[in-house]
Amino acid sequence: MHIVICIKQVPDSAQIRVHPVTNTIMRQGVPTIINPYDLFALEEALRLRDAHGGEVTVLTMGPPMAEDALRKALTYGADRAVLLTDRHFAGSDTLATSFALSQAIAKIGETFGSPDIVFTGKQTIDGDTAQVGPGIAKRLDLLQLTYVAKIVSIDLNKREITVERRSEGGTQTLMSKLPCLITMLEGTNEIRRGSLDDALRAARSRIVKWNAADAGIEDLTKCGLRGSPTVVKRVFAPATRAEKAEQIDTTEKTPRDLADELIAGIFSRQPALEDELAFDGDA
């Protein structure tokens, strides 16, 4: 079984700062990580490989330094890594990203064997759209299984797959066919710690690096800024509330006094609430 998994290197958004004056992102010293959601997909891919045999290929599109993310994926135990990097990809939105990635996956299929499953994470933490996965599926005409919480079974002979999928109000069980694209739900597993062998192999392995031409992309108008129908017109910092919270003075007050005062404060601001709460609270 050949599994391709798409990962993205993202800035650790917990550490991102916005320049107080210019409102631009200050990336200085902000570490990059593998998009945390992708790790659930990666682990699931590794488990499937361990259970059914085969290979796991990790793919990312990004700047040359995204190689770090791929190497890390190899440390977890992936078999092969492909970096799709080209200036023409810069500024891609979801449509252009899914185009480039789907072309690369097709090329991976030609070069290393056609994938049975393509995995993506549920969403990224920088783009946060959850659209690249469905985009790839559509372009490659793969059956699309999103928000998968569990892979119940795979029958490689019948090319059948059964999954449990999270929906708004419950869990849906779907049976579909390979090849398919799965976006994996978070919290479904925990990424493994690669063995010393995996780590050594990762440190030494060569990463396959493709530019647009290598990936067989001829139509550059579908890539990067040019291939992106969406246009970012304005970037700005969220408005800050002018006044800070009104602080209740705590000096020499018992918790009960404080509670009295706080509750009075709440109801004076939201007078209707008292009746509603009384109703709910007693119900």
Binding site: R17, S195, L200
Partner: protein, 434 residues
């Protein structure tokens, strides 16, 4: 798998990178292990880099190393609670084509250095903690165990470059745990500001940088030093005091830093900045007398792990780099001769170190740590206060005759510290510094 390497380096800090680079670039099969997520991830941000020592390892480092600002100005402040009296040196000569000192952000710099190590041919594994050194029946170090599933990894020699609180060497009995009175605890913050604001506040232009080091009542009678470095878009600010002092006084390092930041001389420099990354780290300050055994059968120890740190001049990374390089060179030499990595042969590392500035500098200041420690009240509280009063006395123009002002100053000094005390402090300081 029992793969064997020529050398294993533990740690990807300054010392480890220097050692690994030196050996790998001379053709040795090197494995470097770092427990952090990436090299530098565990290292306190913001530091000064000394070019000379790095040039000896990577001569053209300026081409692509992530350097923040080159230093053109150094200030030293003696502070009391409301004032500082200072010495300041600034020279346009430092705007040279190959500047002597830079500020760097360690997380980025270490990453760059590590890339060089990899390009030189070493195998670098991160997120891999060495849990134990492996020895043969005779006690010779023959490799390491890690926290990853797998066999022991073998090597002819193991270079310990695990930093000041590396447990490995002490656990293996290769050296002692540093004592509280020989390590300082430094806390540090990064304050982000736009580049032009930093330029403006410090009177800098085009990548020029400035360093402030400060001592005085800010350390509340403990032996300690505060510092402030300008990076490109941030200011590193911190304070360090001996661990034993913190323990004795029950002061919190965080409070000290808060006070330093609120000091009227400092506050305007960092006003309106965005704080990020609070970090605490140990600095070995024991000096010459605290240096442990540096080599043995199948192992050498370098950098902070070997207490090679010049507390007086706040130099650490350059000693770390140099000791790493010299260890690497010694190992390469032994290897080239085809000799075994036994104690007698690895002594070459020590003799190289002895001849270098590392040991010479540390020997020069060998009495300084003890002096500052036992006399910290005077050096860090009394004198700064006296000096500040004296300065203010002179600068405030009133109708007191100057001669009276001078007398008052002298009297104040003597009252606080007695004539004998003053003389003895001066003499002892001079001896220690000499």
């Amino acid at each position: 798998m029992t793969e064997k390497f020529d050398a294993i380096v533990i740690g990807a800090g300054m010392a480890g990178n220097a050692a690994a680079y030196t050996m790998a670039s001379r053709g040795l099969k090197v494995l470097q292990l770092e427990r952090g997520e990436y090299p530098g991830s565990k290292n306190v941000q913001g530091a000064i880099l000394y070019s000379n020592m790095l040039e000896k390892i990577i001569p053209d480092f300026r081409d692509d190393a992530p350097l923040e600002r080159h230093l053109v100005e150094q200030r030293f402040w003696m502070m009391d609670d409301t004032s500082h009296i200072g010495m300041q040196y600034r020279s346009d000569d430092f705007n040279e084509s190959r500047p002597n000192r830079y500020t760097v952000i360690r997380a980025q710099f270490d990453k760059w250095f590590s890339r060089k190590v990899r390009e030189a041919g070493a195998t670098v594994l991160c997120e891999t903690t060495v849990t134990e050194v492996a020895r043969d029946a005779d006690g010779k170090v023959i490799g390491v165990h890690t926290d990853r599933i797998g066999d022991v990894i073998l090597a002819d020699v193991v270079v310990l470059a695990e930093g000041v609180n590396g447990l490995l060497g002490t656990r293996a009995g290769l050296r002692e745990t540093p004592k509280p009175e020989t390590v300082a605890l430094a806390v540090k913050e990064m304050h982000f500001l736009p580049e032009d604001v930093i330029d403006q506040r410090f009177g800098l232009k085009a990548n020029e940088g400035c360093v402030i080091e400060a001592a005085g009542t800010i350390s509340r009678s403990m032996a300690g030093l505060a510092f402030l470095y300008t990076n490109k878009e941030s200011i590193s600010i911190g304070i360090g005091c001996l661990v034993s002092d913190f323990a004795a006084t029950m002061e919190s390092p965080y409070d000290l830093l808060e006070n330093f930041k609120k000091h009227p001389s400092v506050q305007p420099l960092i006003a309106d900045s965005e704080v990020k990354e609070y970090a605490a780290h140990l600095i070995p300050e024991g000096g010459y007398k605290a240096i442990p055994q540096l080599f043995g059968n199948g192992w050498v120890v370098t950098g902070d792990a070997a207490q090679l740190n010049n507390a007086v001049h706040r130099e650490g990374s350059n000693l770390a780099m140099t000791s790493g390089r010299l260890a690497g060179e010694a190992i390469v030499q032994v290897k080239t001769r085809g000799d075994p990595m036994i104690k007698e042969n690895l002594a070459l590392y020590k003799s190289k170190l002895d001849k270098s500035f590392v040991i010479k500098d540390l020997r020069k200041y060998k009495d300084m740590p003890a002096l500052l420690h036992t006399n910290s009240r005077n050096f860090f509280t009394t004198y700064p206060q006296l000096l500040s009063q004296a300065a203010q006395n002179f600068m405030r123009v009133d109708s007191t005759p100057k001669i009276d002002k001078e007398r008052a100053t002298t009297a104040a000094f003597i009252k606080e510290r007695s004539r004998w005390g003053l003389v003895s402090d001066a003499v002892r300081f001079a001896f220690a510094w000499r």
